[in-house]
């Protein structure tokens, strides 16, 4: 594997791992705060699925460094500019509708991404994706069910869902950006063509929206930057809390 390809794979793995980690951290904020006990456990389960994913992906990413890094080192000892998660993942949890819209957009993407990655020429990635795609499919189904309930529920739940969809739309196109890394990985059959994913993603979201009477928002300004490690102000605060213990007491164990 050339140096260039190895670096591209590293960035890609960090992107997948960071997406899982940051989403897991955000979802875990619902623990003890969800609208009802059952949903509390459901959301915590989703959070744990993501943390589990992050562990495997960051561990694999760690092996692409000259000096091997552990998943914990990568999670707790990188600063925000070294993180490559989507901006949407780091946005504050917001209300329940906001979380559901976020989950809908992200899990629809992950469902398609991991399905495509099952065919990756990287055998580690393809084996992992066979498991991840099942999780992602369930996460999408959970979000789609709630999207419909909130959309067809009360006037208030409907309006909150519409607001969430509109606020989050400006963070969706970033998923599908083709950087030089992505092009290189595509050439080697390691990662899929994001443009193709975009078409299928729009279909998938469109189908859910059709059942609920929502429409796909008009494309307006789109936020970008995560491919270069440029983030919103929110990631720093999240990392601050998540990394506090390891930063204050390096290598603490109990």
């Amino acid at each position: 594997m050339t140096m260039e390809l190895k670096e591209a794979l590293q960035k890609f793995l960090l992107r997948l791992g960071d997406n899982a980690l940051i989403q897991g951290q955000r979802l875990s904020e619902w623990c003890s705060r969800a609208p009802m006990l059952e949903e509390d456990i459901a959301l915590s389960n989703l959070a744990l699925d993501h943390i589990g994913r992050a562990q495997v992906l960051l561990d694999y990413a760690g092996h692409t460094f000259g000096e091997i890094k552990t998943a914990d080192e990568l999670a707790f000892r990188r600063s925000e500019r070294e993180y490559y998660n989507f901006l949407m993942a780091e946005l504050p949890t917001g209300n329940f509708a906001f979380t559901i819209a976020k989950q809908l957009f992200l899990s629809a993407y992950e469902d398609l991404l991991y399905e495509a990655l099952c065919e990756s020429t990287d055998t580690h990635l393809s084996a992992f994706s066979l498991k991840a795609v099942k999780e992602a499919r369930y996460h999408f189904s959970h979000a789609a069910d709630w999207c419909m309930r909130l959309g067809l529920g009360t006037a208030e739940s409907h309006d909150k869902m519409v607001d969430a969809i509109h606020d989050l739309w400006a963070y969706t196109h970033e998923f599908f950006e083709m950087s030089d890394c992505d092009l290189l990985l595509l050439q080697h059959g390691i990662a899929p063509d994001q443009e193709k994913l975009k078409k299928n993603w729009l279909d998938k979201i469109g189908k859910v929206f059709m059942r609920t009477g929502f429409s796909i928002p008009q494309d307006t300004y789109q936020h970008r930057g995560s491919r270069q490690g440029i983030h919103t102000e929110h990631l720093g605060h999240l990392l601050c809390e998540m990394q506090y213990l390891q930063r204050s007491y390096p290598d603490a164990s109990w």
Binding site: M36, L37, E38, E39, I41, A42, N45, D145, R149
Partner: protein, 94 residues
């Protein structure tokens, strides 16, 4: 008063072909939600291969005050137990 959503009873099947066991209950507004919550609450540690959910209201239960009338007469009918048969080999679920 219960201000939560409808109550559903959850039955989980451990292995394909085996019996469904009562696992507990969940609150949910519809059957899809009940099924998903049952999955999230009662099969997180690999307990299940299939789930049934049923609205608690749809279950007909015997009343505690009828227990004597219902069950005591069976107490002394030892001859109803099939203890005189040899169990077929490999029949674990009987």
């Amino acid at each position: 008063m219960d201000t939560q959503l409808d109550l559903w009873e959850v039955f989980v099947q451990g292995k394909s072909g085996g019996q469904f066991m009562h696992a507990g209950s969940v609150h949910a507004s519809d059957k899809e939600m009940a099924l998903k919550y049952a999955r999230d609450l009662y099969t997180r540690r690999n307990e299940g291969s299939a789930i049934w959910v049923v609205l608690s209201n749809n279950i007909v239960s015997s009343a505690p005050e009828d227990a004597e009338m219902f069950f005591d007469p069976a107490n002394d009918k030892i001859y109803r137990h099939p203890t005189f048969y040899t169990m077929p080999e490999g029949a674990l679920q009987i």
